[in-house]
């Protein structure tokens, strides 16, 4: 970065005016007996994007804060941030190389799809049982471990698809059994503080599973071989649009995609479509959605809530396991592998709005893009990698401060 001082000043300027805007605009709307629900957030955005130039007219005019008012200033904030970044670091590869940017975008979307799949599991559990599972990362890890052992050790002949199905079965089974053994007292109203109980007991499960796997399989990293390997080819020959090597695809000679990640994303999308089909076209799926919308009405309609809870927890864990199962071919795998993806899933469901299924998926895509941008554009490469989990946390902090209900959550 050429001018780090300028960049810090710009950020400081935005934060300062954001804080001032939040306080002043809220007060202005309050003083004029206007709707104040959105005033603070809009004040922050307008302040951060324009400083005093936007705040003064907003303060004087106090217009009705429509949806456009709530959204457009944020685009301004992002634009101002990008300009400040560009001005202070003009040689950054993110501004000089279109190829790199497109590549990062595509890879961000691919990873985002898989993140979305995993977060969807967490959102599904929350929408039905109303708890956040802290063992989600361990199911991700177990999904990957099962695929590794199936394809490399136990039954290499069966192929990767059978291994993925086995991973689903194992994670679903553990999840469902755990739900029956430990969550039933919650529904019976026997637990004084159900939220905290659920947090601690799933946390205990995470601890237990992580070391159980370590005890069984050892602490060394394992690596599964890619599900599919491509032949080396070019199409059309000479000036290729698609160029493939064993583990890489190159489009238009500029966008580079790793095959294991691509197969993982494709499998995720297939599984996602299967899940949507299940939720909308089967009796059980409809019953699940009904329970998520209105528990009591569903119970009156003859849906057994206990079974739905078990199914939801099992399915949620299975989705995490699935994300791990398709990604184990792309990364090396450890018993501790689940921690960062679990954190990501948390960020995503808060971003999307706790319990919102579309929110979880779109949140996953957003986080995928943000991480790709962070990993690609932050000037110091070693730091950019070390701080990978931090980008999500910055989003989480902003969302919690400015819009706690998330993008698609219902107003609390």
């Amino acid at each position: 970065m050429d001018h780090p001082g300028f960049f810090s000043l710009a950020i400081l300027w935005m934060v300062l005016w954001g804080a001032i805007g939040g306080a002043v605009i809220h007060r202005a709307y309050l003083a004029r007996d206007l709707d104040v629900t959105a005033a603070r957030t809009v004040g922050v955005a307008v302040g951060a994007a324009t400083g005093p130039f936007g705040l003064v007219p907003l303060y004087l005019r106090t217009p009705t804060l429509t949806r456009a008012w709530q959204a457009l200033p944020w685009i301004g904030v992002v634009t101002v941030f990008l300009f400040a970044f560009r001005a202070s670091d003009p040689d950054n590869v993110c501004f000089t190389s279109g190829t790199f940017v497109t590549s990062q975008l595509v890879n961000g979307l691919i990873m985002g799809t898989i993140y979305g799949l995993m977060a969807l599991g967490l959102a599904l559990i929350f929408s039905i049982i109303g708890i956040v599972s802290f063992s989600h990362g361990e199911f991700y890890m177990i999904g990957g471990m099962v695929v590794y052992y199936m394809t490399e050790v136990w039954a290499p002949g069966l192929g990767p698809i059978a291994a993925v199905i086995a991973a689903c079965a194992v994670t679903f089974g553990i999840g469902a059994a755990f739900e029956r053994a430990f969550f039933t007292p919650i529904y019976a109203g026997k637990v004084e503080r159900p939220n905290e109980y659920a947090i601690l007991v799933t946390f205990g499960l995470a601890f237990f599973l992580q070391y159980l796997v370590q005890g069984l399989s050892g602490a060394n990293p394992v690596k599964a071989s890619p599900f599919f390997e491509l032949p080396r080819s070019e199409w059309p020959a000479g000036a290729p649009i698609i160029e493939t090597t064993r583990s890489n695809i190159k489009l238009f000679d500029m966008i580079s995609i790793s095959t294991p990640r691509l197969t993982a994303a494709i499998l995720s999308v297939v599984m996602l479509l299967a899940l949507i089909w299940f939720l909308y076209n089967t009796w059980t799926g409809r019953a699940l959605r009904a329970t998520a919308q209105d528990r009591q009405a569903a119970a009156v309609a003859g849906i057994n809530p206990g079974r739905m809870n078990m199914l939801a927890f099992g399915l949620g864990c299975m989705l995490a396991g699935l994300a791990g199962a398709v990604l184990v071919q792309a990364f090396s795998w450890l018993p501790q592998t689940g921690a960062i993806p679990a954190l990501r899933a948390f960020v995503i469901i808060v971003l999307g709005g706790l319990g919102s299924l579309p929110g979880a998926f779109i949140g996953g895509l957003i986080l995928g893009l943000v991480e790709a941008a962070g990993a690609g554009c932050v000037p110091d490469p070693t730091r950019a990698a070390a701080y990978l989990p931090a980008y999500g946390m910055i989003i989480l902090t902003l969302v919690l401060l400015l819009r706690p209900q998330g993008l698609f959550g219902r107003k609390v």
Binding site: L30, D33, L34, D35, V36, T37, E192, K411
Partner: protein, 255 residues
Amino acid sequence: MITLDVKDIRKKFGNHQVLKGVSFRIEGPELVGLIGPNGAGKTTLTNVLDGAIKPDSGTIRLNGTRIDPLHPYEIARAGLGRTFQVTRAFRRMTVLENLYVPAMAMDASVNRKEMEEKANEILAFLTIDHLRNEYGRALSGGQQKLLELGRLLMLDPDVYILDEPFAGVHPSLMATIYKWIERVNGEGKAIILISHQMESIFTLCRRLLVLNFGDLIADGPPAEVKNDPAVIDAYLGVEEDMSGTGLLTQEASHA
């Protein structure tokens, strides 16, 4: 003198206007009933009064001081106390500790001995003194309602808002609640009583406020409110227990 001045309170949740400009004024030791069909906005109004929900517009003044911008705890200390529709006893604290919370919150340097004496006196008055070392969760639903009333006495506000104090209470404990209301009212405090039990409301209150779809449609003595056509309209077809109030007899005569 105690005054509670509510002016043009509006509150919107999403696209649903829950309160559409509610205004009323309470002066002195009044005992006011707040009634209305389900979804009329009674609980929202209570939450706005106690500061848990901020109104979109309007002002609330207690004894001349504006309280609507204050935090709930500041409003409680300023002299407005409430109970909740669903009982909210501190379940893992003993009955005595439940009573100490408001006393100590009001006055950090409260004399412990006096506080204990007052708490014991209140528990005896509410006929639950034998339970004083039990945890809140060990109490029955009705006893928990009494405990909440006891906590309010320890807070000792000027205006008491009781949200459904009779709901789910065993008849043998009703007399105690009646006695409690007489005592508080006799001490010169104002009470706003929200209840679906029309019999109790009509026996106790000398003034009724009727909310319907966020509007205050009637304000006056029970006899007058009972015959107000707007009120009868609001209650038509609602499964409230209106027998004994005369509200439904007119409907019957129309039919």
